[in-house]
Point group: D3
Chain length 330, copies 6
């Protein structure tokens, strides 16, 4: 790795196993295999949209660990892997059962004690972080272990000190910790964050903000001195504040085949476009462009199986810039 990355990420990537639609895990005779994690999803999406991206993690030196690197390399994500040679090293695993009304999709984690939970700052390439334009982490990573919470805190500080913008997505996971623990962690991390992404529900629950969207983003920005705050509101789209201006971005209509990773696709699209526009010395309006890019990427993700949106810049632009086509192009 000799070039400075556009976006560096750090976190856990899991093996995802899922039965076919309509088949319960209790009856399943085969599982589809995918690979996913908030940070690597963002890195893979941004890489396809033209960024140089990296992912830092710890994996067991095993076929399952290599299953994950195989997948991420295929998206041309630069990897800094600490290989765990301990016999107890393991990859986090989750079982995804696609539902459908009145059953929702369900997720069954088997991730406790995965190799990444012991990852320390000392093990990773700080140069990769310091030289990057943006350093992205999700709120899942500090939830995985105290060690990782410390690591994330240190990484964000180092990044910010080095002039790398820091981006953080709350991503509260009730199966990993409770809201009190999350709140404490978020509050010690947010001072080192430049760009905050948070689902309205997580902001309500873990950051105790429950006003109208615009008030929330203004409040968060001023409390934590954030450059950019993005409040994601499900079907109601996104409300964002950047440099004191508030923006709204509706969602693009999509036929959902697989909703996992939609938020990460949004972040990957948003950050890429933000960087692109920044490169061209854009004004405030570039945020609108970046939000639309994120929303378009997220809509495309929903049509694609697996955690990672396999897409092209042209496809994203087509959703963002034009009306959706009916029919088949031929």
């Amino acid at each position: 790795m000799d070039t400075a990355l556009d976006i560096v990420t750090i976190g856990e990537t899991m093996l995802r196993l899922s039965p076919p639609p309509g088949v319960r895990i209790t009856q399943a005779n085969e599982f589809d295999v995918h690979v996913g994690g908030a940070e690597s999803n963002v890195a893979a999406v941004a890489s396809q949209l033209g960024c140089q991206t990296g992912w830092i993690s710890k994996l067991p030196a095993s076929p399952l660990g290599r299953r994950i690197t195989t997948a991420l390399q295929s998206y041309d994500v630069e990897l800094d892997i600490i290989w765990d040679h301990d016999d107890d090293g393991r990859v986090g695993t989750y079982y995804f059962e696609p539902g459908g009304k009145p059953r929702g999709d369900t997720v069954q984690y088997d991730r406790a004690g995965s190799s990444v939970t012991t990852l320390t700052t000392a093990e990773i390439s700080l140069e990769m972080i310091k030289s990057a334009s943006i350093c992205y982490v999700s709120g899942i990573t500090p939830a995985l272990s105290e060690t990782l919470q410390t690591t994330v805190e240190t990484v964000l500080q180092i990044a910010q000190s080095a002039g790398t913008k820091t981006a953080f997505d709350l991503n509260y996971r009730s199966k990993l910790w409770n809201t009190t623990m999350a709140k404490n962690a978020y509050q010690s991390l947010l001072p080192d964050v430049d760009i905050l992404i948070g689902a309205e529900r997580d902001v309500n629950t873990c950051l105790d903000r429950s006003a109208d969207p615009e008030s929330i983003v203004r409040d968060l920005a001023s409390t934590f001195n954030l450059e950019t705050v993005i409040l994601t509101r499900g079907k109601n789209g996104v409300v964002a504040l950047s440099n004191d201006t508030v923006f709204e971005q509706p969602v693009y209509d999509a036929k959902t085949i697989d909703a996992v990773g939609t938020g990460d696709a949004f972040v990957g699209g948003f950050l890429t476009q933000k960087l692109n526009d920044g490169h061209n010395g854009t004004t405030c309006s570039s945020i609108e462009h970046a939000l639309a890019t994120g929303a378009a990427t997220a809509a495309l993700k929903r049509t694609i199986k697996g955690d990672i949106a396999a897409i092209t810049p042209a496809e994203v632009a087509a959703v963002r810039d034009t009306d959706t086509t009916e029919g088949i192009s031929r």
Copy 2:
């Protein structure tokens, strides 16, 4: 089998072979294999919801016969199988072709002369029936052969005499007999029935009732001296009469992947909840609870491939007791 069962059932279970969605039987290169029959569907559903259930039938002593017992045992249904060692013994088979507007789902039966058609009362364990709380049969069973018609009649009489409640679902099948034959059979069976379930269309066609739902259930209850009458009305939900009170239960919204077995899932859920409440000395309002449980189970069934709803009590309760969740729980 040493314990008294909650629900004992008797009938035919078939092999179901189906091409993938969008593929016609005439072009199919592979068939999915499922196992289904009204009575065993009810038994399997009720077993998962906490009942001790049993299924009585006759099967050829062949891999295909054992394919069926393998499936039902996996749901912990107690089996009383009369093994047919005759070379001509066979399992009923049906080919299910999932359609979609304007093609409906279609069913192609190849069930004539299956082993169960020769099942007599002398062959089966009457103790299992007499000691059970409920004995359930569908109207498909007497339609399969004259022998079975006699068997069902005798079984219902024996059950009722022994204090076992009898439950009967009309389940008229035009591919097995005509309405006149069905009407005659129903009329000789209904005097031995306590709980009647019938689709509005079948009640119209085979029992010559075509008034408003409430009048129909009142009329049927008084004519045949029924404890409970449940009129299932498709998308319009269910109208039930129990102890002179009429109840209505709407359907829960569901994204249908496989509609086969929806009615059986309703019956399984209804009977289980009825028994549970009965155990606690519940009042009339328990019928409402049982109807809601049946409707919730039926809605879940629609999201699951195969004839049998693979579900848990908690999943049924979640549909019944709460608003359906959007999003993924993780």
Copy 3:
């Protein structure tokens, strides 16, 4: 081939390779294999609906060429294949990626230089054409090569001279030629056409007609001296003119699994019914029947994977003549 065919067709049939729904070509590990081409789709559909049909083409003498004849023979289409023994002979191939809003279905062609592009009139069985009732070609065939453009022109002239009705579907393909080229070709072919089918968009773009549908069909009929003109208008159904009378046919509602070949199914259904009615000396109203048959066949096609509608006359009649059934017939 000793009997006169009802419908003879001439054109290219391709191998279609498609990843499973939700999987991108860039990630795909398996492709479904189908076989499709406008003309053979029409022939296969009409054959199943009771016509004697034929397809004339040129294919490499290779397993891939035989993959195509295997498929078409299975629909009992009479074949007149010129086998290309040249090492460079190839089958046209296309990769179909099913999408879903906001991604549309996409088609990636790899068809340049396929064996059929060198097909000349001298190579084919003119007797098959002259003795047929209808000769059908789509506008894709002349777009494939100059040789084929000449061949199509000659074939239509020979057919018309021999009393064979000629049917032509514009089927403009922007990936094969541009509107100017298409316009020139269409204008030299249309004088030899009796029955014209055209999508409204293609008529706008390539025949420069953009009035209201009725005016367009009247204008086209008089300009090119056409017996029948059918303007297909997507969700808005079809407007047709036959013997100076204008007809409208709405689309039948359908749950789309695979939209490819919908237009060809319409043509196959329409032409078959037109011929059937003609056999019985029907009057003008038979066109209404034929249009409804075409629309019903097209609706069924949408529920079936692959380019060819695998259907029966009874299924088409059920859609055309009755209300669509809810539920399962059993």
Copy 4:
């Protein structure tokens, strides 16, 4: 059907359902679908090798019946199907479970009462039989019902009277009848047979011949006045007598993926080559060529899934005429 066929066949074709290798029927969640029957296997193989072939049978007018015609048409076999519109009409079905030492392959029939069992001479096209060069039936057909036994007898007589050579393969099936019944049937059929094919074991058991191969074929030829007798001896190859001369043909080595239909492939290859050579006024040595062709076709069959050998004349010639190639041709 206007042309005289080279080979006409009459018999039952079944649906074959088989679990994947290593999976038991009792556990199977999907079955591969194939189509097979001794006579149609022969017709399909011979068709691919260049003969005009036909198959006469009776099938239910159902998707399953059409599944069979779809398959046979794909091999360009001319069909004369009597469509059974009786609700009880059915296709014969068999479940094939591939084994492997010490389990053998096993076959589970579900074929009793299939539509073909009621096929009478009055229903079929005698012209098709009389005009053919060879009429082939296997010993399975008369074993299916008394009606079919009569039909086969009549057909063979009519064929022979019309100058059509008759070919008969004993194909004794212990699951259909016993050796006494078979012996009686064979003895009334053999006077009308010109070409007899029989496995050594069947000849031993049902025709009471147990001498050395040469004596057996001589004995059978003289007893039943046969033009050609072929004794198939498994791994020991084939011993044949034609016009008083005895020939031996060893088997070609093959890696077996699916042994079903090996014998039929032999017959298809043998009869085709016999006819071809006959067309050229060949001498006795042509039998050797035909036997080698049959053996090569049989060896290829073993490498192909399903009952029917999907092959080309060139592939058969390559096995027959040259040493088997190691490596990949590219």
Copy 5:
């Protein structure tokens, strides 16, 4: 559970995930799902061969836990499951990659901290153990945790005191502990064992015996006061000692599709036959019959995918009592 079981077992059952043959885990896009564990494999095999069998274990109250009970119930194994409601509860998982020379099959465990590792004697149904004829445990169970080592020790003592024969298979797993730990555990368990099964290699490594087979079994029997000792020697078959007599049993030839569970199939077959013969008051020679039954069951297992041999008594008898058939039975 009201009846005394023939064989009760206690141990861990895992989810097994495996890529298709020829595909590496690092590239796999789908995994086949099977369920396996030494003790439940034995119970499932013996159940199919006619024993009443049970399996005691602890599983997470999750879909993955229920995936395991679904599988075992399908074989009619009586279950005594302690459901672990702890969020950290998990099923053991292993990834099986089928190889082929020069790669062997490989196994990647992810089983640390599975729910069963906390199973104590206090949690289980001692009545089930005391009333059984045989109590079987493998040496894998004590290797999983100290808690389980204590549990196994107590269970074997209780069983033996209650007159239940105890059977123990060394099953040394180098990925779970080292030879010193195993040796210590084995030595404290063996005094409570009646029937010992051990691979020659494990006996060498962990019990320090390396003489000729006969000496080894005699030495073990006298040292540990064992009723029966069975030394399994891979391709060299089995040497057993029972009541001072030594027996040899060669392996039956088999085409291996999946070798996992071969040893457990042997044990299941052996114990079942031993019990059956015991029921009939057999003499010493019954051991020979039991060994042959075990070897036949083991050979069949090799032809079947998954850890559990899906078989019938008749299939086992066919291998044991007759020469293997060539060809297809039909």
Copy 6:
């Protein structure tokens, strides 16, 4: 690309489509998708064994082009792709039909006019070539077009001038050119080659050498001034000459699942080990080590589906350094 590569390669990589074993292309309903080309196979194998490797090529800017880069990136091969934006740009495709005695595996190419055939020296990164340790090309590349023949010639010259060792594998393909054309090309390329790999058959046919192996390698080395010559002799292993010493390397026994890419795996293993040893200043004996490494890699390849051996250094070492293990490691 900022680091000097160990091995840079240049050539075509194709999409490979293959039906399942036992299914003919003419009947196939699905194709497995793999990606393969001699040069990228070598690069992917060497990358996994620890080299920094690169692949230079030209691909259409399409999903199919990206399908290829996705695959190669997953093996961490550095790519220098010239994206062809021409509408006629295409990927080479080949259909691989796995056979089995007496059918061999067959390959059907559809590669004419693929984008890479227009690749010129001007388009590629010469720096990547000049800075590499080894530049590898196969004889397939110059066979694809005259343009490529010139490009390869120039590249080899530039490489050699820059001190990059050049490696060339004859890889004669009769479906691409004839022996005369190949001979001429080889003779103009060989003066620029340092390491020659050639199959004995290709050396016989295209380089007119037919003596004993040792004489051949000596003759070739002296004629073309080669540092290393490796003659691959199928089952007879390899004979190599390096610095005037001759070595022999037998093949390792392997159960072949997919033989495609075996030779490339050998080259990848050989070159990697050669480089590794070179790094440590090894003596002549390192060639023996490299040959054994190549042979071990080749043996492993045969057990893996697809053109590329997915392997680890440890797996290769295990085959090379130890006896193959029987049984399962667990």
